[in-house]
C-alpha cells in the first residue's frame, strides 16, 4: 500500500469500513477505527504482484462501478452506509464471476485485517465466553473404516 495514493487509501478505508462497521452494543469497533498499518506493511512485503495489482484493481472497480448503476449513481465512498451495504450484497450475488470474486477477496482481506487486531480477537473471545456452554456431544465411533 506504500505506493497507493492518499485517495486510494481513502477508498479502501471506505470499502473496509462499510464491510465491517462498529457494533457498539457488543463493543466491537469498525474496521476503519482500528490500526491496520502493520497489516498493510506486511501485505506490501509479502503479497505477490498479481495479488497486489488485483486488490488495487478491485478497489478501483468497486469505487467507480456504482456511478454506472442506476440504483446507486455515486462513487462508493459517497454513498450512504445503507446503499454501500446494498451495493456489496449486489456484487456478492452478481451474475459476473469477476465481480463476485472481487467482493469475496475484499471481504477476505477485510476480515483478515479486522481479526488480526488483538483487541478485536479478545473481544470476540470474551463474547464467546459469555454464551451458554457448548452442547455435550458424544460420538459413537463407526465400526468399519475405509483404508
Amino acid at each position: 500500500m506504500k505506493d497507493w495514493s492518499h485517495i486510494e487509501k481513502r477508498w479502501v478505508g471506505a470499502l473496509f469500513g462499510a464491510m465491517i462497521p462498529a457494533h457498539p452494543h457488543k463493543k466491537l469497533p469498525s474496521l476503519q477505527e482500528i490500526e491496520t498499518s502493520s497489516f498493510w506493511e506486511r501485505f506490501d512485503r509479502v503479497a505477490p504482484t498479481q495479488l497486489r495489482l488485483g486488490l488495487r484493481l478491485g478497489v478501483w472497480i468497486f469505487t467507480w462501478l456504482p456511478i454506472f448503476l442506476p440504483r446507486f449513481r455515486r462513487r462508493f465512498h459517497r454513498m450512504s452506509p445503507d446503499k454501500q451495504t446494498r451495493f456489496l450484497y449486489a456484487m456478492a450475488n452478481s451474475r459476473s464471476f469477476v465481480l463476485r470474486q472481487i467482493a469475496s477477496t475484499l471481504k477476505l482481506f477485510a476480515c483478515l485485517a479486522y481479526l488480526q487486531d488483538p483487541n478485536v480477537r479478545d473481544q470476540v473471545t470474551r463474547l464467546a465466553d459469555q454464551t451458554i456452554p457448548s452442547e455435550k456431544i458424544s460420538v459413537k465411533l463407526a465400526t468399519k473404516t475405509t483404508g
Binding site: 469498525s30 451495504t85 469475496s104 470476540v124 463474547l127
Partner: protein, 504 residues
C-alpha cells in the same frame, strides 16, 4: 530442541557473501519429502546439506492470527492461483518443515487401491515399489510421527458435530488420525503449533538429521541444478541476505513440491516431455452453518473428524478448524449484519469436502519466473463437488444446524430444510463458476514411471535424464491419492533414501 544444534543451522538472511561447500548429498526443500531423505542419508553417515527457502520458526514464534501466519508461513500468502475454468488458490507452506508446519496434521496411509492403480498403469513398479515395502514404510512413519486417532476430549464441538451428523445419516466416519503428541486442541495447526505438539518435520526428522551432522541452510532459494554430461554436480543457490551459495555434491535430491520441483529442473535446462505435465490436486469446497449452541470453531483439534464412507466415490468430508478471520470471511453478510455475525462467531461451523479430481493440468515457468499453473475441472469433478456440498449440508442439518450456507451461486443462499438438499443435484448445473473452491495436495509434475517417455523419474526415484538427480515429494506421485498425502510422501521418501543408499 534447536539449542544444541546452532552450529548446524545457517540463516541465509545473514549470509551476504559467496560460499562454496562440498557434501555427499544436497537436498532442496525441507518438507516431508526432503526432510525424510536428509535424515535417512545423514543417519547413514553421508554429509548432507538441507536447503530451505522459508525460515526456521520456533513454536513460541508462531502467530495466533491467520493473516500473519498466511503472510509469513504460506507461499505467496496462499494466493498462488491455478488458472482454468475455475481459478483455484493453491495452498503450500514455506518454512523449515514445509507444508507439514501449517497442515491440519491429518495422516492417512496410502490407500491400497490407489497403489494398485499405480501398478496397473506401470506394472514394473511392482518390482521396486511392491505393496509390502510401501506398507512397511507406512508403518514406520506412523510410529515415528506418533500417528493416532484424535481423542474425544480434545476434539471440540466442531469435530464432534460432524461425527454426530454423519452418524445420524449412517455415513461411515471416524476421528482423524494425526501426527501429534500431547495436543491440547488449541486449534492452531494451520498457524503452526505454538506448543510444538504437532510432529511436523521441523520437530522430528530435521533435528534428527542435524544431530547426525547434516547442515541446514534456511532462507536460501535454490536457483539452478549444476550438471554436466548427464551427471549432477550440485546446486547453486541465492541467500536472502544477497549472497551466493554453491554446493558441490554427487547426489542432489529435489523436494520443493509439485510446483517448484519441475520449475527448478526446467530453469536448470533439464527437459523432458512429461516435466510439469500430469499435474493433479485435491480441490476442496466448504460450507458454513449456524448452530443454536456454541461451536467455537477456533478451539479443539483443528481437523479432528472425517467422513470416510465416500472415499471410493472420490469425496472426503472433514471438519475445518479455521481461525476466526476465515470463519468471518465465509459468512454471507456485509455491513451491520456481518458485525452482528462476528459478535456471534462462536455459533458458526465450517466443514470441507476434498475431491479426488480426475483433471490433469500443467506447470510451467511464467514471465515472472514463478510457476504458471493451468488446470480445469472436468464434469465428473464438478459432479463430485456438487455431491460433496449436498452431503455436507445434509450432515450439518442432521447435526442440529439451524441453517446452512451452501455457497453455490444462483441457488438457495440459506438452507434450513434438509429436503432442499435432495434436489440440489437436479437444480444446480455443472458450471464451474457456480462454486468456490481452493486446492491442497499437489501431485504429478515429475511423475514416476519406468518408461522414460511417460515419467520424469524412474522407479529408483532418479531422473531418467540425469544420474545422481533424485526427486522426493508429491510431484513424483503417478496420480492424486484422494486422501491427505503427507504420510505417503514420507513413506516414499524413506524408500527413495534407501534407493540412494543402495546405489551408494
Amino acid at each position: 530442541m534447536y539449542e544444541d544444534l546452532a552450529h548446524a543451522i545457517f540463516d541465509g538472511s545473514q549470509l551476504a557473501k559467496e560460499q562454496t561447500l562440498r557434501a555427499d548429498a544436497v537436498v532442496v526443500g525441507s518438507g516431508p519429502g526432503g526432510a525424510t531423505v536428509a535424515r535417512d542419508l545423514a543417519m547413514a553417515g553421508l554429509r548432507v546439506v538441507l536447503l530451505e527457502e522459508g525460515r526456521l520458526w520456533l513454536p513460541q514464534e508462531f502467530p495466533p492470527d491467520a493473516w500473519t501466519a498466511n503472510a509469513e508461513l504460506y507461499r505467496n500468502v496462499g494466493a498462488t492461483l491455478a488458472m482454468g475454468n475455475l481459478p483455484l488458490p493453491l495452498v503450500q507452506g514455506c518454512a523449515v518443515g514445509g507444508t507439514s508446519v501449517i497442515n491440519g496434521a491429518i495422516s492417512w496411509r496410502l490407500p491400497k487401491d490407489v497403489h494398485q492403480e499405480w501398478l496397473d498403469d506401470d506394472p514394473k513398479l511392482a518390482e521396486t515399489l511392491p505393496w509390502e515395502a510401501v506398507s512397511q514404510s507406512l508403518d514406520r512413519v506412523e510410529q515415528d510421527l506418533h500417528i493416532h486417532p484424535t481423542p474425544e476430549e480434545i476434539s471440540g464441538p466442531n469435530n464432534l458435530l460432524l461425527g454426530k451428523g454423519a452418524q445420524a445419516l449412517g455415513y461411515e466416519h471416524r476421528p482423524i488420525s494425526r501426527n501429534v503428541r500431547g495436543c491440547r486442541g488449541l486449534g492452531r495447526c494451520m498457524q503452526g503449533c505454538p506448543e510444538g505438539h504437532k510432529l511436523s518435520m521441523d520437530r522430528t526428522y530435521i533435528p534428527e538429521a542435524l544431530q547426525h551432522q547434516a547442515l541446514l541452510y534456511h532462507s536460501v532459494c535454490a536457483k539452478r541444478i549444476l550438471h554436466r554430461n548427464q551427471n549432477v554436480e550440485g546446486i547453486e543457490a541465492q541467500t536472502k541476505g544477497g549472497g551466493r551459495l554453491a554446493i558441490h555434491a554427487p547426489r542432489v535430491i529435489i523436494a520443493a513440491g509439485a510446483l517448484h520441483s519441475p520449475l527448478l529442473l526446467w530453469k536448470s535446462g533439464l527437459r523432458h516431455p512429461m516435466l510439469g505435465k500430469a499435474f493433479q490436486c485435491h480441490p476442496g469446497v466448504g460450507i458454513t452453518g449456524r448452530f443454536p449452541t456454541p461451536v467455537r470453531m477456533w478451539e479443539g483439534a483443528t481437523q479432528g473428524h472425517e467422513v470416510t464412507g465416500l472415499r471410493r466415490e472420490g469425496i472426503k468430508v472433514e471438519a475445518l478448524g479455521f481461525d476466526m478471520s476465515f470463519v468471518a470471511s465465509r459468512l454471507k453478510s456485509f455491513g451491520e449484519e456481518l458485525s452482528h455475525d462476528i459478535a456471534d462467531l462462536v455459533y458458526w461451523a465450517n466443514w470441507g469436502a476434498a475431491i479426488r479430481a480426475e483433471a490433469r493440468g500443467s506447470v510451467k515457468p511464467s514471465w515472472t519466473g514463478q510457476p504458471k499453473v493451468s488446470y480445469s475441472l472436468t464434469k465428473n469433478d464438478l459432479t463430485k463437488i456438487r455431491r460433496g456440498i449436498r452431503v455436507m449440508g445434509e450432515i450439518m442439518l442432521a447435526a442440529g444446524a439451524s441453517f446452512v450456507y451452501p455457497g453455490i451461486h444462483n441457488w438457495d443462499e440459506k438452507v434450513s430444510d434438509p429436503k432442499r438438499f435432495s434436489t440440489l443435484e437436479q437444480e444446480v448445473p455443472l458450471h464451474p463458476k457456480y462454486f468456490n473452491a481452493l486446492a491442497t495436495h499437489l501431485f504429478g509434475t515429475c511423475r514416476l514411471h519406468s518408461d522414460p517417455q511417460k515419467g520424469v523419474i524412474d522407479t529408483n526415484f532418479q531422473t531418467h535424464t540425469t544420474k545422481g538427480l533424485f526427486v522426493s515429494d508429491a510431484s513424483i506421485f503417478p496420480s492424486n491419492t484422494g486422501v491427505n498425502p503427507q504420510t505417503s510422501i514420507v513413506a516414499l521418501a524413506h524408500l527413495c533414501a534407501a534407493s540412494i543408499l543402495q546405489e551408494n
